[in-house]
Amino acid sequence: MRPVKLACRGLWKLFGPEAPRWRGRAPDATALASGGLIVAVRDVGLEIRAGEIFVIMGLSGSGKSTLVRCLSRLVEPSAGAVLFEGRDILAMREAELIELRRHKFGMVFQNFALLPHRDVLGNVAFPLEIQGVPRERREARAREVIALVGLQGRERHYPRELSGGQQQRVGIARSLAVEPELWFLDEPFSALDPLIRRELQDEFLRLQSVLHKTIVFITHDFDEAIRLADRIAIMQDGAVIQVGTAEELVTAPATPYVAEFTRDVPRAKVLSARRVMRPAVASNGLAGEVPADARLASIAARVLASDRPLAVVEDGRVIGVLGRDEVVAALIGREPVDA
């Protein structure tokens, strides 16, 4: 398994007039009941592994933004620990934190947060300028990432001259200019039209397939989460109530809330061959092979078109078979009980 890049334990963030009384310790039950506290983040523990896309998902006001800002210490948590590569960033001094942000962290914001007085090149080069990189070098690097997000030729445009999608491409380029290891994205596509959103999601996946960053991605859109996530954390009222792959959330919701959330999810996009197959080892008379982690949506047509079932293969071994009955049962929501 890949190493843990970022972790947090017992993380709390309180707002409200009573909040300062609970610095460094978790509030007790009576304090929580008293009403003088707004709990934005409630006792959260997470482990995010190197190179994974970790999506934090929840309704508006559930504490996603506050949580991600606690992880980067933009917001000072009330209690708990945040470990980046094993070092507690809450214990760091200002100078260390600045170093970390300059070289290891990148962030993309919902409303782009571009600097209105700088052109595209100036915006993208800004994080390097802050570090004191000489003009030649930082502009060369900025041009590289601008090309990477497909905005070459627009270096001299100002933010107000760009469309929303283009602005967010600048935001993405800017956060990548310093080659961060940990990439935070707070609802980066929520302010965009559906078509543009789709386009940028594809773009994002393409970038990640080249860059292999560790990513914390926030969204309130479950479809987006399914498309992008390796793992998803669901938040409700400041607490993380379940962490798992999309498939796990759909097939084994931890609470009725999660079940409600995932009810309208297109199952074909979530369920894998492994999940819906009939376990078997024999491979006689099968029509072909499908990989065990293939989504149903991508193989259903083949299965339904074939008279005989297909073999489900993992690491070169057949671990089960998949026929019309299994696929139809899964698609109408009657997949076999958890094995």
């Binding site: 300059r102 914001f109 800004f126 802050i130 310093v178």
Partner: protein
Amino acid sequence: MRELAPARPLGGPAVPLAPLLWAGAVLALVAPPLLLGDKHWAISWPKPWIVPLKAWITAFMTWLRDDLSFGLFTFQEATRFLSWLLGQPLALAGALLADGFTRGSGSDAVLLWPPLPWLAVAGLPVLAALWAGDRRLALLVAVCFAYLALFGQWASAMTTLASIAVAVPIGVAVGLLIGIAAFRRPWLERVLTPLLDLMQTVPIFAYLVPILWFFGFSPVAAMIGTIVFAMPAMIRNTLLALRRVPVETVEFGRMAGCTRRQLLWKVQVPSAAPGLMLGVNQVIMLSLNMVIIASMIGAGGLGFDVLRALRRLDLGAGLEAAVAITLLAIALDRLSQAVAARGPGERSGPGWLLIAAALVAAAWLVGPVAPAVQRWPDAWTLTTGTAVNEAMIWLNLHAFDTVEAAKGWLLVNVMVPLKRLLVGLPWLGVVAALALAGWRLGGWRLAATAAGLTLFIVVTGQWEYAMVTVYLCGLGVLLAGLFGMPVGIWASRSEPVHRVVQAVIDTLQTLPSFAYLIPAVMLFRVGDVAALMAIVAYAVVPVIRYTDHGIRHVEATVVEAARAMGCTRGQILRKVQLPLALPEILLGVNQTIMFALAMVVITALVGTRDLGQEVYIALSKADVGRGLVAGFCVACLAMIADRLIAAGSERLKARLGLA
């Protein structure tokens, strides 16, 4: 009155009690003088009881000026140094624009190099207008500067411009730094906010007295007064603009690894630029507003021309100089707005700078040999001054009787009786009545505030002057309301009227307040009536603006619902729009009172006998205690009116569910 207190109902109107309460209050105000005679201590505050605040302030200021020492240097040395320091750029700007560079002084002065030729001075703003705006703006600026030249105002205008050109950058820079400091340190903001509020309510005249005291009568003192007056706008706008920078933008800066200083200068301040430019624009406008007043402590130029003309009742000359100030204000206002509206990166480049430099160089080189380039030839100037004065004479010959009759009627039947009534009111009754009003509108705290502020006026012995101020101001506000509200309503119901009214009040607002005195004195000559007319003309703008705006912004769905129910236009206005717009209209009334108070003080010049006159006298005698105490009393009046009306507006809003 006290016994009735517990009967205050929660929420809804106190139907049976309220009239009783108010009847009691009126009785308490009017009855005692009749019963007790006007010498009783509860009617007029006995002289021996007056707190000698004036003397204390004067003694304190004298100590500051003459005795205070910080060890290495004295307070007086510090003010002298500051005055010298600020004098340097002022001298440079003066030489550049007005006087030329000279060696020696007085009558022995030798001109080394002439000032910037008029062609360059007028050409630069026109170029700037082309650069930042369009041809129309350039034309406007050109016309404004052409007026200055054509009407012989050039020399004075350059003196004024030199002072503005130094005062504005200093005011902007210092205001920006103070604003930033307050933005970063909440405690500083908490200290600063009430101070700024107070500065806004103390009449400008009153500022001048201590400045005169410390810096003497000089152009530098006048410039300091201008800066002190204009800078608060920059502080406020800086705070506001920095606060409006989106949270995400600041978070981005922090995530990029900015240090605190980098965050401020590379992220927050540039992102706040549009709001900051608004502040710059306001500083320019306020500085120009101050031009005439500043001439009372030593500024020359256009302001002094107006003041001198007013004192000599040479109204033609005064009018020309006042128009010059207004046009200068309009040109600089539109120009700075155009600069502010330019997005970053729009049409920049060295081309424009090069043209400007070429213009200056060419004009300066050609100037000494071509007098028409250097100085606008006198032969080309004209004046309407004599025409205006002749018109005055004509007016006096033909309309004198009518105007005089109307004026006499107004004085005898309205103004004098009202003045008598107000001056005769018992102070104790007024304090009680205002406390009652405060309590009804906002609770105990407001009651205490209103009573405390009123008591300040009483115990410092300013009662009579304050009551004269209230009489002029109150009558002015009443007339402004009677005239302004119908105009505002009319403007809200007709688009063409709205546009015309908007243009007129925008122009009125650029006029320096002194300018209002000129036509008033032309028609009514010096005295309370002229003062009243000037107050009405000056204070009518906010009533119109807020009434129009308030009615226009009543929620459209409510109006539609009323129309769907079959209301006529008149019914919609009376039963829906006016009641819902009332809180906003009240705010307009509040503004009107503030405008009226500002004007009342200035009308001291035409001989009213109120708090303004006290300040004016203090200014001519450099009596710092007298000036400040009268100034504080005006501030007290302003704050009483402001707090009570604001509370009333809030209550109304809450009742209408608009809050």
